[in-house]
């Protein structure tokens, strides 16, 4: 066994997520198709953090980082929370996938 690779994220336990878009304004609804993930089921390492998820979403949806907010039960999730911690604190004992929401803010608002 090559121990030099044991820390690779791809060997970590993986978490299964479902990312649903939460619309909060009429203008967002107009762009709903464009700014909604077509592939909403996501799998990643339990060590991935909310900020990594935001970064990937930005790339997928072609928006800027400050526009994306991750939510659970309408509450904003801290950037440095790992998926493992998120699962244990919010989804423990429930079936996969863990359902998260995201909002896309207007580009002009910060």
């Amino acid at each position: 066994f090559d121990h030099s690779k044991a820390h690779f994220y791809r060997y970590d336990e993986q978490v299964s997520l479902c990312l649903e878009r939460q619309s909060s304004s009429l203008s967002e609804k107009k762009d709903k198709t464009k700014l909604t993930l077509q592939q909403k089921f996501v799998r990643c390492s339990v060590r991935a953090e909310v900020r990594h998820l935001r970064k990937v979403l930005c790339h997928r949806l072609n928006v800027e980082k400050h526009q994306v907010q991750m939510l659970f039960n309408n509450e904003s999730l801290p950037d440095h929370m790992t998926m493992k911690r998120l699962w244990i604190s919010h989804w423990f004992g429930k079936a996969q996938p863990l359902v998260l929401h995201y909002t896309i803010k207007d580009k002009r608002t910060r």
């Binding site: 066994f1 690779f8 060997y11 479902c18 339990v46 990594h52 423990f92 079936a95």
Partner: protein, 121 residues
């Protein structure tokens, strides 16, 4: 080397269908835990027979584990504490289960797409 560096980063697998269950299992003492799908789940989704899969994708590693050992390891995970998710497996069974290791090729076969982030994020 560049590809290897990329593979050290985070990988995110995206799919428009619910992802097949993924199990972090250590198959031998000489190998650390890795991520596996049940071959039966893969075949069902691809609508292929085991023989056809093995012939077409001989280079994808298929491993075997006793169902009891599989259950023992999977049930230790904090992500599989929902009673329904492991209900199909028998804790004392000596039957063998076929597993196929997750990879970018397998993900593509199943219709998923991958996003990679390097360690700078």
């Amino acid at each position: 080397e560049e590809e290897e560096d990329t593979r050290q980063g985070f990988e995110f697998e995206f799919s428009d269908r619910p992802l097949l269950p993924c199990y972090n299992i250590q198959l031998s003492l000489s190998q650390g835990p890795r991520n596996w799908l049940l071959l039966s789940d893969v075949l069902k989704r691809l609508r292929m027979s085991s023989r056809a899969f093995r012939a077409a994708f001989a280079h994808l590693e298929v491993a075997t584990i006793a169902e009891a050992e599989f259950y023992k390891q999977a049930s230790l995970s904090q992500l599989f504490l929902c009673p329904d998710e492991l209900a199909a497996f028998l804790p004392d069974s000596k039957e063998l289960l076929d597993l196929v290791e997750t990879s970018s090729e397998l993900a593509a076969l199943l219709g998923s797409s991958l996003e990679c982030l390097d360690n700078r994020w």
